[in-house]
Symmetry: C3
């Protein structure tokens, strides 16, 4: 029976065109040739920490416990922002302390937060602009080889959180916003599907329209907008066979109201 290869996932804004992702993978494999590197996404808009946090949170919980998740959306690289290594019940997280882990750590509270400081686990020469390659990749690779968490740096009490759009609750009404538009043009809100009462007749209001909540995409008439609980657990606005974002001109930040 083969040994299980340690899994290291990557979530970045590096894009797929340049050498950034390739060099990160090279660094990891130079330290741990047995690592199994899995791309989550490299197409986060440059510097868009909120989208990176949402994508990471939606993917990482499906991996085996013990997986190491490296995330790098790091407009502050080279400045004073801290570097983190975090242990949770579902796995480890390595990256900048700039809010990128705030969604996943709200869902899976940290067991241990450490500041990544020990240069022994960095590349010999650390550039000021590419900590993905020089700091986070080598730290993750050493962690995957069994280096103890305590070796990487001192404990840190807390971590950076993103401001969250508050969901104001009136009786029977939740107010939220669109937090992400996916490739299919589905506009995903920050209202969890679990907010709805199972017996009610919920409707979602967006841009003066009131949408019926259905169970799956084809439950709506072709070309008409509908609302449903997406596979991520949040309420989303969709169009059967089309793009809700294009049809209704929806963007992140727009207000929505759920009557449930």
């Amino acid at each position: 029976m083969k040994t299980r290869s340690p899994i290291i996932t990557l979530t970045t804004d590096f894009g797929a065109s340049d050498w950034f992702v390739g060099s990160v993978k090279g660094v990891i494999l130079s330290i741990n040739p047995h690592a199994q590197i899995i791309d989550i996404s490299h197409q986060i808009a440059p510097g868009d920490i909120a989208s990176g946090a949402f994508i990471l949170a939606n993917a990482c919980s499906f991996f085996p416990p013990g997986a190491i998740h490296v995330a790098v959306v790091d407009p502050g690289v080279g400045s004073q922002r801290a570097a983190l290594i975090v242990q949770t019940r579902i796995g480890f997280f390595v990256g900048p302390d700039n809010g990128l882990f705030s969604i996943v750590l709200e869902q899976h509270p940290p067991l241990q937060v450490r500041r990544l400081m020990n240069p022994r686990f960095f590349r010999a020469s650390v550039s000021a602009t590419f900590h993905g390659r020089d700091v986070f990749a080598p730290a993750a690779a050493h962690l995957s080889r069994g280096t103890a968490l305590s070796a990487f740096g001192p404990r840190q009490a807390d971590y950076c959180r993103l401001p969250r759009a508050v969901i104001v609750t009136e009786p029977g009404i939740l107010t939220g916003e669109i937090s992400y538009v996916d490739r299919f043009g589905n506009a995903i809100t920050n209202i969890p599907g679990s907010s709805m009462s199972p017996t009610g007749r919920p409707r979602l209001r967006v841009k003066r329209r009131s949408l019926r909540l259905v169970t799956h995409y084809q439950a709506g008439p072709p070309g008409q907008p509908i609302a449903l609980v997406g596979s991520h657990g949040y309420i989303e606005i969709a169009v059967n066979g089309g793009s809700a974002a294009r049809l209704l001109r929806l963007n992140p930040g727009m207000s929505v109201k759920l009557t449930y």
Copy 2:
């Protein structure tokens, strides 16, 4: 000697920006940490089953026999369309029964077609919108661990086929159409290269132009359109150093005629 890792390929319209591909890979590795996951393409246009079928058919036969090919272009997710698991001489296919496998199964006839129904091999909770993650990924992972095909569901007599543009044959003339435009702007027809007589002086007509058939891209003068048998085995229209699709404004569905 190491054991061979089972290969699972992915062909989807999920794109590379969101968490879809990452969560599918997480689900597979949670069930079979030894699976070797290979991306064929995630850039199929949303819902474009015909292109997905063409891409899958062009790639899958190069993999070792026994590889498991998961394909998900699934606009009907959540509706009544069936889910399939198919055995062929070149490997296994897992995905929706919507025509996505019709080209590959015409080339490599199925040895066994089964309807994927046994919830034991699905994720504990199946969403109505993301069967790639909740149905097809776990089924493929269980198959890669050696679960017998018969465990997944009952045999099914047939599978969904895409309508194919009929190739009308007059003496010495084949009529077909452009079926795909690739990244280099090559316009690929549905006329197999094997249709040509080896001794003739074949020409391809498209949009009132008559193109000479050559053997490779640089056999044509730079900037001029030519026709040749592409590496996929079909006749394609190309430009040495340029994009035939852009130069001649070619799109899928346009008619072509081969005089051979």
Copy 3:
């Protein structure tokens, strides 16, 4: 302890949409199922050999020695250009002899250059248009299984080099050009950071602007262009939180001057 899987990297202009990359991976795994295939980039602009050479050179040195780097940007496929297999201290290179390896081989001089000619290591039928799949992939896979370099073909004295923009040196001034624009809009010059004297007050001139050299992106005021030594070792033009290429309309080929 597991055996180390041989690493094969891929750097191509195949894009991620079609079946090209998938079929190359299938061919490799059919010959060596233990190969660990790592994508460097498939998004090089079609036929852009210079960018391919730059991307490959920036990524490959981070991989473990012995890695096999397959690079295919090959507008001359099917013509008389030679196919190469090259050994260096950092690993092996397989691809067309068209300049694609000229940057990396300048940094890591070849120990052995051979012309890839032995059809025993090609696919049984070689297309005229897809040597990535039919020649380079199988050769790399055989090399990864331990086939001796000498089996692939005869030694070749030299290899094709790209013309390089000469860096003219006046006292205290270096003249170069922009050689690459990355995804973040950083415009990378061909002037190595090591050209600067550590005690001077260097400035970079581009399009009538004179930019201060700083140490990292956030050392510049938000929205203002700066210059710095990038993680690749060359001087680049950047904007803290923005795109220098968009702001200053910079493109490859534009002239820059370093006063150091």
